[in-house]
Structures are given as structure tokens and as C-alpha cells.
Symmetry: C2
Subunit: 320 residues, 2 copies
């Protein structure tokens, strides 16, 4: 699972940061999922190494413009790019009516199926490899966070070892792969586990924006490998965060700490922290690291491969 | 009057060309007008030397997504950038309802007045210096072209000459400036025209997109200094233009020729003419120039100062 940040500014785009959009590339499939779709997300995809034709699911957190105004353009372009595969869109109530209104006024006809699912919370998607939950956050409008879980995978079957053990090639291999215990034609008993590597623990990503510190975010992020959390404001501008129901850097870090995540990545930064302001984005990073050291700051086009739990890479610091 | 092209691709953005948007900067005012507003237009403004706070009027040709999907984001950003001046928006029927729906679903509140005017054709705007007409084009949906006219200005009053002639400084200067004929206190008769430079002829810009060749475009472009006309397709792809009610390069040139314009600038190019296609944009240029030699191809961020009629600059070829 590889996360690519397409937009890391809040509210308005800047010269170097677009409004919200995060792609999650799925390793085993030629497929990516998109979280939020601010204006210009399709332009960012064009400038990244993502292929627009591989977009299969879009998850919208809430209906503010900086999270949805790129949706219609992206969907229209998917059609013009010749997509024929269905795109599933998940989001808050009102999303379907909004898209229908835009399609009607702009006379946009999609040449491929688009299915809109309005969230009610809980498990919203599941297949053989992945599961997606959503949960309420705390913002000025209804906002959902998402938790993407990769399911655990059985460890790699060691065919070499099975062969050396004298197990005849064929359907027995499949049974051992699935972890079954067998009696061989010569009477020996063998356990599948002895021929498989350790199971691969599935990775978990939580995406929480826009929100002030809330229990909902902690629940979604519980034990996650990566928590992507908004940090619109510096701790020194906490009153702004409270007034607007956004997070400070320290709130994001507190969610990460309370949830016991492996890595926090902060995003959705206020454009106010530009050169000239006494507070800079480095300050937000330092504020968060004082609470949760494994904090990184997202940047547009930064791609981050979520490390596997057993991998030593997960123990090293990362920086975009 | 300076024209800046913000988007010159049709339908979808490419890496080097955004979807439709053209800014016209007014020389005497700290103000610019925008024609069409495809997704990402606000991003292009950010990357140009235009100031978003100087945007005062937006003219929309038709309701297709590549001409309107940037509107809500731009208007929302104007508010967040602290604009307080009114923005007037002109466009086809349906534009107001579209904007209202987007505002409602996204809960976007503008902190400044926005007035939407739905076109019925003819004169749609006039002030002391400018006039804007719109007229119907021929496309798959209702589409309007625009004609922006700078009014003629009286020539510069030569106060030096009046003084040398012994005319007493005071209200008489104002009368001469306005071209009146006066009797001086000493009995001499003087004509204002003798103390003023030649009047400055106002410049005229026509903006015609999206459309197939039509008389409406010729009327709007009559004697214009610059005609901006779409040229989605090469002449060799004329059947596509006919099917989709777009123009070929040669249709754009024929409008320019029939209208007797001084300069044609083509835009709204199909992304199909990319490296690898047997037809390239150079071919579209050559096709048009065979009919109308004073043809230029627009590029994103190209700024073109419309020359005054009496200026020798208007006689030289231009290239972005």
C-alpha cells in the first residue's frame, strides 16, 4: 500500500500545495483509491505517476468545497479518457444529490457506471483483501474519517521445502498452503504451518480530516500503521482551531498517541504558515513531535510506502 | 487591454494546457475580467501575474464542465482571500441555479456580493469605458460568444500648446478638451480639435467558443482587433467537428476572414494532437494561415497586449 499526497493545503490552493486529495495505491492490483477530491485533483494525478484509468473508488470525508470541487471534473475526465470500469464513490448524505445537480446543469454524461454510496458509519466496503470502515468526526458539517484495513495474508508456501520432504506435487500443496494438516500417502502426518512462512499482518491506514480532536478519530486510528490527520493550525493558534472545529498539530499528535499508531502524517495545513508568518510549518512539526515523535509532514506528490509490521523499515524515521 | 490565456485545451486538461479560461486585463483600472472558468483556473491565476483580488467580472460561454467546473472554487477562494468587492457573473440560463445548488450542497457562503446575470443576447454590460455584447453561437448546448469593446477616447489635450496660444488657464481648458469651439475674451475663435491629439480608437476583442462555424461568430467578431476563436480540430478531422459542433482550424480562419479582424488567436485544442499523432498543432496553425495569415496559436500563460489601431505594432506578426 502506497500513499501519495495530491493536496496538502486547507481551504485554498497555494503555489506549492493543492487542496485535499490522497491516493492509496493497492499493491496487488492495478488500482488506486482516492480520499477527497478538491479542485485540481485530476491535474495533480496527471502530474504524478498515478494512472487515472486505475481509479476505482473515491471516499469523500465531507461536503466542503476544498474536498469535493474536483470530483465532477475528475469523473468527466475519466469518461473522456475512455474508462469503462465502474467507479464507486462513498461519502456523506447530500453527495449523490450534489453530483446529480452538477451532472444535470453541465449535461455531463458518464460513459461508465458510477455508484454513489452515502455513509451511515461502520463497515462500508469489503472484499477478499481489504475492508474499509468509516466513522463520524467532529467538524462544522457532517464529516467522516476512514480506516482502510488490509486483511492478514497466509505466509508464503515453501514449495522447495515440501518437495525436499518428499510430498508429491499436486492438490496436497494447495491444502498445505491453506494451513491444513494432512496424512501423506506414506502415512506421515504434516502440518501446513510447517511449510508456510509467518502470516503477513495486514496494514491499516486511518484518514481523519476535517475534525477537531475527537474520540471518533482515535477509534478509527486504533493501532493503525499510519494515521493521516489534519493539522490545520499551530498549537499557538488553538483558538482558531476551536472556533472552526479544525485540529492543531498537538491535537493530531494526541490522537496518534491515544490510538497507539506507528506513524502520524499531518496534512491540511493553513496557507497562513507561509514565509513572513512568525509561525512556520516546521513549528507545527516540532509541536507534534514533542507529543508523538514519529510524526511526518505531508507534501504534495510525496509517496509513502506503508511498511509491513515485521519490516525493520517501520522502525526508522521517515520524511517526505 | 491585455489578454492572458489561462487554459487552452478542450475537454480535459493536459500536462501543459488547462481547460478553458481567458483573462482580459483592463489598462486604466486595477481590474481583470475572466472568460470561462474551467477546473483549475484559480490555480492558473495563482501561477500567473494576475491578482485574484482584481477579478471583477466573469463571462461564461456555456455550461459544459470544462468551462464552469472552476467557478465555485474560484469564487470560494475570492472570499477566503478577503475580497469584499462585488463580482458580476454573466452566462447562459441555468448558471444561477447551478451556482445556487453548488453553494447549498457545499455550504459555501461568499463574504462579498455575487450577482449572476443570465444572458439573453445583445448588450449585457456598459460603463464609461467599455461595452460588452453577447450573441448566440452554434454548439450542442446554448453557447454565447462575447464582444468586448473599448470606447473611443478623445485625443490627449495639449495644455502646453493652449498656454502658448495665450488661452487663460481655467474652465476654458475643459471645454477645449471636450472638443468645443470657443470665443476667447480677446475675441479670437478657437477649436478644441486643434489642441487635442487624434482620438484613440477603442479596441475590440471577440471571444467565440464553443461553436462550429456560424454567422453569430462572424457578427461578434466584425472588425475586431483580436478574435479568439476555438479550433478544437484539424481540418483533416472536420467530420469530428461537424459531429460535435466544434470548429476546425479552417473554420476559425474563415470566421476571421469574413469578419475582417486584425488578428486571429486560436485556442481550445483537442488533446489528441499530442506527440505521436500524425497531425500536430503546427498543422492546425498552417491550415488556418493558408486562409488567414495573421493567425496565432494560444498557449497557457501567454499574455498578449492588444495593439492600438494607429500603432505600427499591430502590423507585425505575433507569436506566443
Amino acid at each position: 500500500m502506497q500513499i501519495t499526497f495530491l493536496g496538502t493545503s486547507s481551504g485554498v490552493p497555494t503555489r506549492s500545495r493543492n487542496v485535499s486529495g490522497v491516493a492509496v495505491r493497492l499493491p496487488q492490483r492495478a488500482e488506486f483509491w482516492l480520499f477527497d477530491c478538491g479542485e485540481g485533483t485530476q491535474h495533480q494525478i496527471l502530474r504524478s505517476d498515478l494512472k487515472i484509468s486505475q481509479l476505482s473508488r473515491i471516499f469523500i470525508t465531507h461536503m466542503h468545497g476544498d474536498h469535493i470541487f474536483g470530483l465532477m471534473g475528475l469523473l468527466a475526465s475519466c469518461g473522456l479518457a475512455g474508462n469503462t470500469e465502474r467507479i464507486d464513490i462513498y461519502g456523506p448524505p447530500g453527495l449523490n444529490e450534489y453530483l446529480q445537480a452538477c451532472r444535470r446543469y453541465s449535461q455531463t454524461h458518464f460513459s461508465y457506471p458510477v455508484a454513489v454510496h452515502e455513509n451511515r458509519g461502520g463497515l462500508i466496503y469489503e472484499d477478499e483483501e481489504y475492508r474499509v470502515h468509516c466513522g463520524l468526526l467532529e467538524h462544522r458539517v457532517t464529516a467522516f474519517g476512514y480506516r482502510i484495513e488490509e486483511k492478514d495474508r497466509p505466509g508464503r508456501f515453501d514449495a522447495q521445502k515440501a518437495k525436499a520432504f518428499g510430498i508429491p506435487f499436486g492438490p496436497l500443496y494447495g491444502k498445505l498452503k491453506r494451513g491444513e494438516t494432512l496424512t501423506l500417502p506414506d502415512g506421515r502426518r504434516v502440518r501446513g504451518a510447517d511449510f508456510c512462512a509467518e502470516p503477513e499482518v495486514g496494514r491499516k491506514i486511518a484518514y481523519c480530516t476535517d475534525t477537531i480532536f475527537c474520540e471518533g478519530a482515535v477509534e478509527l486510528a486504533r493501532d493503525a500503521d499510519v494515521l493521516i490527520h489534519e493539522a490545520t493550525f499551530s498549537h499557538r493558534d488553538a483558538q482558531l482551531a476551536i472556533d472552526r472545529l479544525h485540529s492543531t498539530s498537538t491535537m493530531a499528535a494526541q490522537v496518534a498517541l491515544a490510538a497507539g499508531v506507528k506513524q502520524l502524517v499531518m496534512t491540511h495545513f493553513s496557507p497562513r504558515y507561509a514565509p513572513g508568518n512568525a509561525i512556520q510549518l516546521d513549528d507545527l512539526e516540532a509541536e507534534a513531535r514533542a507529543i508523538f515523535p514519529k510524526t511526518a509532514m505531508a507534501r504534495d506528490f510525496w509517496s509513502y510506502e506503508v511498511p509491513r509490521r515485521r519490516s525493520s523499515a517501520s522502525e526508522t524515521a521517515i520524511a517526505p
